[in-house]
Amino acid sequence: MTGLLFKELRQNRRMFPAAILLPILAAFLPIPVQLSFDHTAKDVIPSLNEDGLMTRLIMLFTAAALLSQCIRIALGQDESKKWAYFTISHPKGYRAQVYMKYVLIFMLLGLFFVSAYYSDMLLQMLFWHSTGEELISFLNLLPFLFFFQLLMQAFSIPFIFRFGSKNGSNMLAVFLLILVLAAVIFLLFGPDGGYGALVDAAEELLIRLGNGELNGAFAVIAGAFPLAAAAAYIGSYFLSCRFYLKGVAEYVK
């Protein structure tokens, strides 16, 4: 197992600086971006709490999306029949190979989280020194982003193991498209008024949320979400193990 972990760490050594640097860039790139939006050097830092807030948020989610791409590359590096058959004959079997991929992805997401955490704290310190005010912090958002990334990976990794990194993305897109199409068909032709009923229900939901009637339920969902994401990630490992051999049969080389 240690050997496989070492292999993953060595093979993906360039991914680790990426996981650290992406959140740093996401935290500090909004400053030059804000400068380009008619802000002067003097008011660029204060603007981070106003219209810059959205820029910061977009940058953070872009960084998270870029990390997902890095993870996809990391997953595709072992797509060779020779290596796959070697891991199958390995005493620990192909399960160890799959397990280490999951460990690697968890490490990358963890590094991203820690780096984003420190970057946010550094930005807070700079902001407070420049303006004497508190910067709107993302520290409470970051754990949710971490679990959201975990959930997304839990969903996409089995596809990559089953269909390969290239086809896996396409298959995932097709799968999502089928889901959306099925939902649209159901809404258009389904019972209980279809689309109109959904719009009414969504409207009612928004009104009840706005009135604070659903605060409790919303808080429970928010609290249970990390647990669900972690469970999905663990479940995804078992699913990937089941798909691994079928995926190997489809490797090109």
Partner: protein
Amino acid sequence: MSNKKLCAKRLVIFLLLAFGLAWIPWIILNRLIGYHEWFETSHYALFSIPTLYAPAIANLLTRLITKEGFSDLKLHLRLKGHLKYYLAAALLIPLLGILSAALNYGFFGADSVQIQTKLDGAGKLAAVLSLLITAPLAAFNTFGEEFGWRAYMNQKMEPLLGTTGTVLAGGILWGVWHAPLTAAGHNFGLDYAGYPFTGILAMAVICTVNGAILMWLTKRTDSVYPAAIYHACNNNGSQLIGLILLLNGIPEITAAPPDPVRDTVTMLPFILTAGIVLILMLRDAKQKKTAPIAAENQATV
């Protein structure tokens, strides 16, 4: 140099580094910026977490200085067969916290705790879930301490002082390590009898009790992560889960002055658990000692 002398030398170097690397910045920051400003606000949060990594840095530096090498770092997850200890690390604090809250409630009444926010059923569930889930994630804050104290100091101390000695001396040293923060009011505020010495003493007792549980988790799994998770649960306020459930609200968290009677009663579940895990560790140590002799006897037969 004998093995014990070598252990002692490494332990002294480790302690000098762990204390020096934390205390020097803490004292400077306390003097220059003020404790409240650098530790309790978000303005200098960037400094507060890295200083808590002093024991981890001391671990690595000691290994480098004494040419010990980097084996047995206890960085393996060792999940197989040890999942129950990971679960224990995440759930012990909330469970002991429930018992602790029940004792507090029973002995001192509901009025002994101020309620910050009243919660309904869903609110309670949400508060409990968020405390349970975010604590393990906060383990990266506490990993620094555990990688130093449990993954290194205990290893070097046990051959010198035995298991009980390590629990006691290690806990006291760990508690005293917090002294600049305790003296600045971090744990018990500034207004109490015998300030700051009773505060430091109380911290040493708390650290000894928790240190025993942390040492047991580390020894059982041979990994530092369960200890980091337990420590994160403790720092994250998971012990408040009991009070949240009993009082239907989020209790007011303030640095209360040490109160020997109340603190002993509320810490009773933790003290008992520490006692039990100490007995378990002593039993393990005895088994380890007798195992080679038994094997030798069997071989001669």
